[in-house]
Point group: C2
Chain length 485, copies 2
């Protein structure tokens, strides 16, 4: 146990920092006079005290952190912070169970955006700010995790994230240490976030709404301040702004960092993965628009395009905002959208799913099999851009895909065993594992996760966590070899 004290010390520090982030909803509560400020006072004190206690209790033991400690730390951060994140929710909403509060906080910190709450517009505004702000924080964590930590830990072929994207970790002259990478990414993240908030305000949102929905857009999270989600605004202009920034947040943030360093946007527009992402979004929107027109779902092409563009991009980028009940569309469309959310966002973005670069590699591997069958003796390396991807990275990726499929199957079977219907169970798992939020059936765009039983809620909570930490960071803790000295 003492061996892990240095990990706990770092965790204590992170918890203390986390307590300070609650100053943001506290500020909103004061400014808006919504009467909820005592909630944050108590939550901050309790969180700060807990973090300080952990920090002081464990800091006697000193040693250098190893890569292996990274798994433990990352999993602890994403399970313990949501526990403290529940405090404002539990204090402000009478009768809310810990199960539901933890789901909600986990949904925020994993930028999933699935909710168990209804009557959002009747909550203190600062509480919605807190929900959304957790998405922004979760996004910050994910950027560092995806760009700096996972490639270091070698999870599921994520070395290709580093190798392929001209990100901070690749160029030795860029800041190689995690802390500096984090600072660079966050500077970019907040710059884009500020632009997003200003644009949403300019498009017609009040400042509070602009702030909270900016948080959700940047984290590709999907929490909203209204039960009707983005439908509450019913504004094509606001939707257009959201679409624009979802498309920006769906690519590797390291590209922006590099563009800023090089004083040129060229790296962004020549990146293979980013171009593929945008092309995929455009193609999918076009396809769904044509489908909606062919089925006469909307009277005119412009309306069909508007709703297709928002819904497809919202789901495919794993954001999960809703403006219309797309579950009522011809069923091909929502299934396609849920399929896209499994792989469409880029590595190094705040999006969920297996990431586009992994999908590209998988496609190339499948393609290679055909060549191999026709020319059994040919040596066909798998390449990405101009690089040959090493076989051990491909093997890692395969292992990742297998676990991904196994987790999806196991979670679906577990939900079915609790008596949930097939559509709800399967799409809830897809939506949680890919950190998207809305599925179909009971958890569709017009419903939410409130109707689930406690056991079902915990299964979904665990699935969100597994998806967000790219499975291995959590699962490796359960492998017997991990704890052996």
């Amino acid at each position: 146990m003492r061996h892990y004290f240095p990990v706990f010390t770092v965790l204590g520090g992170v918890i203390m920092l986390f307590s300070l982030t609650m100053l943001v909803p506290l500020g909103f509560s004061w400014g808006l006079g919504d009467g909820a400020h005592a909630v944050y006072d108590e939550a901050i004190l309790a969180t700060l005290a807990a973090g300080l206690f952990l920090f002081l209790a464990c800091r006697g033991e000193k040693r250098e952190l190893q890569p292996r400690d990274g798994f433990l730390l990352v999993t602890l951060v994403w399970t313990v912070l949501p526990a403290f994140g529940t405090l404002p929710l539990l204090l402000a909403i009478p009768g809310l169970s810990f199960t539901d509060a933890y789901f909600e906080a986990m949904s925020g910190m994993t930028t999933t955006g699935a909710t168990v709450l209804t009557g959002l517009e009747h909550l203190p505004a600062s509480l919605n700010v807190w929900r959304c702000f957790m998405v922004l924080l979760g996004g910050m964590g994910i950027l560092v995790l995806a760009v700096a930590i996972l490639p270091l830990l070698g999870v599921g072929g994520s070395q290709i994230f580093k190798a392929e994207t001209p990100g901070p970790m690749k160029d030795e002259k860029l800041t190689p240490r995690i802390a500096e990478t984090a600072r660079g990414l966050w500077a970019v993240y907040f710059t884009v976030a500020t632009a997003c908030m200003l644009a949403l305000h300019a498009a017609g949102m009040g400042w509070t709404d602009a702030f909270m929905h900016m948080c959700s857009v940047m984290g590709l999270g999907g929490f909203a301040g209204y039960d009707a989600s983005f439908g509450a605004f019913d504004s094509p202009l606001i939707e257009a702004v959201a679409i624009f920034f979802m498309l920006l947040a769906g690519i590797n943030f390291a590209l922006y960092f590099l563009a800023w360093r090089q004083r040129s946007w060229r790296v962004v527009f020549t990146d293979l993965e980013a171009r593929f992402f945008w092309a995929l979004m455009a193609g999918s929107v076009a396809l769904v628009t044509v489908l909606l027109l062919a089925h006469g779902t909307y009277p005119d092409a412009l309306t069909a395009l508007r709703h297709a563009a928002f819904s497809v991009i919202s789901v495919a980028t794993t954001t999960g905002f809703a403006t219309v009940d797309y579950a009522q569309w011809p069923i091909f469309a929502p299934v396609l959208m849920l399929f896209l959310c499994g792989f469409a966002t880029c590595a190094g973005s705040t999006g969920g799913g297996i990431k586009l670069v992994r999908s590209l590699l998988l496609m190339k591997q499948a393609q290679r099999e055909f060549t191999r069958i026709v020319h059994p003796r040919a040596v066909v390396p798998v390449t990405l851009g101009e690089r040959v991807v090493p076989p051990e990275v491909l093997a890692s990726l395969q292992g990742f895909m297998l676990i991904y499929g196994a987790v999806m199957t196991a979670a679906t079977l577990a939900l079915l065993a609790t008596g949930l219907d097939v559509i709800t169970a399967f799409t809830a798992v897809v939506a949680c594992l890919n950190n998207t939020g809305p599925g179909l059936g009971q958890v569709g765009p017009s419903g939410n996760y409130q109707g689930l039983s406690d056991v079902q809620t915990w299964i979904c909570t665990l699935t969100m966590l597994l998806g967000r930490l790219e499975l291995f960071a959590v699962l490796v803790l359960f492998s017997p070899g991990f704890w052996r000295k």
Copy 2:
């Protein structure tokens, strides 16, 4: 074109042989006096003439067949024979469309057992014999394909089938040539088939019923002579016999061949894959029995065990007989059963799906990733039994799994685009791709494929074919490299 004449010559020969197999239903028609014999006369003459014409037209061109020709030949055999197999159906059933007849014949030759026909008991008995006999023939083809041809062609890691099973191809002293392998396998196949038919008759079936349901059991096919499938007999004894022979047919037939050669059953009972298969069946039956009892679906434990055992083993072995409408069971059970059919049968059996040996390897690869993450520098080979599986075989297997997933997704989306509901579309694809037969929803155990539109039927037909030929044998024909000299 002339380059492929030698392939067509072989195809012509196979078509001629196929025409002779129609003597079997002709014999039944005479014996039973069902008045359908003219149907077979015409079908035999037309098929024989077509085969002879092809044989004579192409036999001028002579060259040694290459492995690459194998893909073309295998795909031609499994697309052209069903076309001739439709003749008795089209001649005997007025108003039957070619689309439906081809689906039915393909369903037989791929041992899928999905049907578009109703009122089976009102058809001439010999026509049901022909439907079921196509399953037996399909099973013969599959044994040779799986044990001798696919490993030679190196499809989807199927080299492991050869490497791991102590089959005819492995031991150099056994008959290494395909023809002799085929003869050995078929001798075993017909021995077990005869035992199966005698046992079914002894359990209470008439000889005609015993013959046709034996065909379905041996091919793990699932065609029956009654709309109610095995439910028509309502006999626990008959069900027990069917279960026993489905469990025998689900393992590698090369094991029986070897057991016969060695005059010892030891090879059968020590085979890793076979033991895993039986254990998996026993465990799944136990699980479903407990579930049915817990939900009070059946009044007593024995009834629950009876129905659980038959339905689970029927679906998991990709047979697809039904005795009860298990779609009405707690949904966990039918979904588990459909999940099992994707991988539970052994390589070298007549079953569908990816095969248990592939699943075992995939599990081991996933496991290896955990070891790799904890010990990044460790070299961890993937083993099967005592052998190390070569990396290129693993890579092949990965490619296979990717294509398998892609075909499943594409076929489901295609069915959804035609307006089918999600449950029917997805389970129909699972049931066709794994050559199982019944899915859920419209194509569930109490329904069939009759209600599908022509386009939907063709999608399912193609999916059955792809599944049966392990994807690559068909798909490689569409890769540009294949036709290049």
